[in-house]
């Protein structure tokens, strides 16, 4: 904490060319020569790639040769190469925190590509500012904290299930939290999967059973994340177990009901007088106020919809001696400690009725692809018979509208490609050809994006089966008020001719968007999102499972539209990443903690309330009240340091004297 004496500072400056990324715009030689004139700089050098082994050796050698106290590298961003250069600094025998980076690439040469003179001047400023800070840097030691040997996965779709299974199989106790009464997610709503045409439920249910039976997985369905505190290795997650109204056999036993609890017999639902639409069937089939989504749910435990229940008590009677139904149930809160967490929050269907021209919710026979999945599914509301909602007739001519709301830059659409609609629409075309004799699918498309393994071959197969492809985006759909048939208007852009196609049914391949809970949950875990709401990975290419919050990882469509293979692959990646800190047993925290300068602290306690992480407290020391920092909780945000009226808080690595020196270096142009 002692201030480094300015006079003794000996700084080395290293300017990186980054090939032509920097050297193509900035005059490297001029920056280097300028650096030599900055106070405290004893050596300045340059190299084509400072991050390469020879570049790093230059740093280590110069530290020894010139007895440096600080190192400045003018190159890319700390996010990319701070660890690299810290290692090089340490290799030279200096404390790695005596390294400071000047960003002359991302914030300079790349954005000022056409202004080389001004860019060079800006680079000189950046180097001068970095030297000012480097002159005042001090030795810091990272803090190690133990990692709780448990993990949490939020979201029980196929991604979350796979992540939980992998973690559990790696010997880690895993809490799998799912908001709905059953795991399975979107995949359990699908009939078949492309391109193999596997029955979706058939390949999913074994996994659901595995999850339920796995001893290392604690399955928490009908449960939501309420609050998250802590940091990597030590998250305290508060969960809301929503009032289910039905006891599991375990819960029943805990209440002393021997041999009781729900067996999934369904006697309760049989007598329940309240009928509601089943959200699993997208409202196309009824359920009772005490319900399961479908016969293959896991866990097979009924749930009371307390918003609909009239508390008539018939179900309690029907349940009898099992005494599983508890109509007085209340939400319960539990807090669990986990080392790492994976978010697998999934996606929702974009409300396609917002695009009026497609007529969804206005015309009976315009349905979404997910509704099609339920209608074509043997366990669905129609037993797998595709029917027109208007009259129950079997449709023969069916139009599939791709990019319905996707690739749409208006304010009523989504600018991204939803990625799997092309493929499932091809699959839908196959299914109607297979199931309905004489049926013709018309696929309105802009591009068929069949990018995955065996996907293009699948496209070939469906074309060969007789699907008609019309290359043009659908302009609008109108309804014949008498027959309820639909007229699909588009241009066949390959013919250059407008098309008015009369069909019996239209299936909209609606865009997808982050699930409704994504925004709330990501805020609890401190995860960023991109403009369109998808969760932001730590690096789009090199760290697609990680987030910028240490210890929190992403799996599946919550990070961006993904089909099943990609979701499962990312889930396994996330599980692997989430298990690393747990297996290591401890993590190093960057030592950017606030420190209390006790002799200056008046003990006013204002900072305690300012801290967003509950890291500060007041303690008695030597007969005085002073502030104390719980280092493991402190994230170094600087709120307290900036606020403290007495200047009694020292932000390590971002201390006031260091920052003021940087500002002075900029404003005074190097004059001290």
């Amino acid at each position: 904490m002692a201030e480094v004496k300015n006079k003794e500072a000996r700084i080395g400056v290293f300017v990186c060319h980054c090939g032509t990324n920097i050297a193509g715009t900035i005059d490297i030689e001029a920056v280097k020569e300028y650096a030599k004139t900055i106070p405290n700089v004893v050596v300045a050098d340059n190299y084509a790639y400072m991050c390469s082994t020879p570049g790093q050796n230059k740093i280590a050698d110069a530290i020894k040769e010139h007895n440096l106290t600080g190192v400045v590298v003018a190159a890319c961003t700390p996010r990319l190469h701070e660890p690299t250069f810290r290692n090089a600094t340490a290799a030279g025998g200096l404390n790695p925190f005596r390294f400071e980076m000047a960003n002359i690439r991302d914030q300079n040469s790349w954005v000022h590509m056409h202004q080389p003179v001004e860019a060079t001047e800006k680079a000189k400023d950046a180097v001068r500012i970095a030297v000012a800070k480097a002159s005042l840097l001090e030795d810091l030691v990272p803090k190690s904290v133990p990692v709780e040997k448990t993990a949490m996965v939020v979201g029980g779709g196929v991604g979350g299930m796979q992540a939980a299974l992998d973690l559990a199989d790696a010997g880690i106790k895993t809490y799998l939290v799912e908001k709905s009464p059953t795991i399975g997610g979107r995949m359990s709503q699908l009939d078949k999967t492309f391109p193999t045409l596997d029955c979706s439920q058939c390949i999913l249910t074994p996994k659901m059973v595995d999850v339920y039976r796995n001893e290392n997985i604690e399955l928490l369905t009908y449960t939501e994340v309420e609050a998250v505190e802590g940091y990597i290795g030590n998250f305290d997650v508060t969960l809301r177990k929503k009032a289910r109204g039905v006891l599991t056999p375990k819960e029943a036993e805990a209440r002393g009901i021997v041999g009781g609890g729900c067996t999934g017999c369904g006697d309760c639902a049989n007598v329940c007088p309240v009928i509601k639409p089943n959200p699993f069937e997208l409202g196309m089939a009824p359920r009772k106020a005490i319900y399961i989504y479908h016969p293959q749910v896991s866990p097979l435990i009924y749930t009371v919809d307390f918003d609909a229940c009239v508390k008539c008590g018939l179900c309690v009677e029907a349940c009898g001696e099992k005494k599983a139904v508890d109509l007085e149930a209340k939400d319960e809160f539990i807090t669990v400690k986990v080392g790492t967490a994976i978010l697998a929050l999934g996606y929702d269907i974009f409300p396609i009725e917002k695009k009026f021209e497609f007529g969804y919710k206005n015309f009976d026979n315009v349905i979404t692809s997910l509704e099609f999945e339920r209608l074509i599914c043997a366990s669905g509301p129609t037993g797998g018979h595709l029917v027109r909602p208007s009259d129950g007739e079997t449709p023969k001519r069916i139009a599939f509208v791709l990019c319905a709301g996707s690739r749409d830059n208006t304010d009523t659409g989504k600018p991204y490609c939803s990625r799997f609609c092309c493929m499932y629409s091809l699959k839908h075309a196959h299914q109607i050809i297979e199931k309905i004799p004489g049926a013709v699918p018309y696929i309105f498309y802009m591009d068929i994006r069949s990018f995955g393994k065996m996907y293009e071959e699948f496209y070939y197969r469906i074309q060969n089966e007789g699907a008609k492809f019309i290359r043009g985006r659908v302009a609008n759909i109108t309804e014949d008020p008498v027959t309820k048939n639909l007229h699909v208007n588009a241009e066949d852009t390959l013919l250059g001719r407008p098309v008015d196609l009369e069909v019996d049914m239209v299936v909209l391949a609606a865009a997808i968007q982050p699930s409704a809970e994504t925004e709330k949950t990501r805020r609890l875990f401190g995860v960023s999102c991109s403009q369109d709401g998808w969760l932001l990975e730590a690096h789009p290419k090199l760290n697609p499972c990680g987030t910028t919050t240490a210890g929190v990882y992403l799996a599946g469509a919550c990070q961006g539209p993904k089909d099943i293979p990609d979701t499962v692959a990312q889930a396994e990646g996330a599980a692997s990443a989430a298990s690393i800190p747990i297996h290591k047993g401890e993590v190093e925290l960057e030592p950017y903690f606030a420190q209390c300068i006790e002799e200056k602290c008046a003990g006013c306690g204002m900072c305690v309330y300012q801290c967003p992480y509950q890291a500060l407290s007041l303690v008695e020391k030597n007969g005085r009240t002073v502030m104390q920092v719980t280092e493991a909780k402190c994230k170094g945000c600087g709120t307290c340091g900036g606020f403290c009226p007495g200047g009694a808080i020292w932000m390590q690595h971002f201390a006031s004297p260091q920052i003021i020196a940087q500002i002075d270096a900029f404003l005074l142009g190097g004059e001290q």
Binding site: A475, N476, E491
Partner: protein, 193 residues
Amino acid sequence: MAVKKDYMDQKLAEKLRDRKYYAPDSNPEFLKEVEKIGQTPAHMCYQCGTCTGSCPSAPRSSYRIRLFMRKAVLGLEEEALTDPDLWLCTTCYSCTDRCPRDLAPTDTIMAMRNLAFRRDIVPRNFLQTVQLIYKSGHGVPNNDANRAARKRLGLDEEPETTHKYPEYLPGIQKILDHYRLKENADRILAEGE
């Protein structure tokens, strides 16, 4: 450049003319100018056909707004400006309403019409409309059939426009004179005689 072959017969030569797209056919300035006047980034068109699919003119004509967007992107100035289809847009703005790229194809067409007019390429009926507006304040002036219909509906024979208030006509004429619209219309029509 298109390869020229001599067929010794003008008709045959035109029929078998090389119609490939060659780079020099393109005038990149054309796209810039169209975007400047139309105030919509036509180069962002991805040719989905929503515009033509929405167009009330397309089913009954050879007018394909998507192709004009394409010609703007490729800088095919000659082809775009000399195509008589350019004048078949009714400016209903259906394409603009539905364009998923949030472009205004209608405004691209209007920009091209401006550029065409600069080169005196404009159909005679448009010019006659200009003359009618100059004369009456209306592109489609009132007529006896209309007057009778209005009377049946209990309306005044003349609407609340320059028809009823001819004293405002000089104002309209001043505007048309300012842009030399009438003068140009008269000239082009006379030259075409």
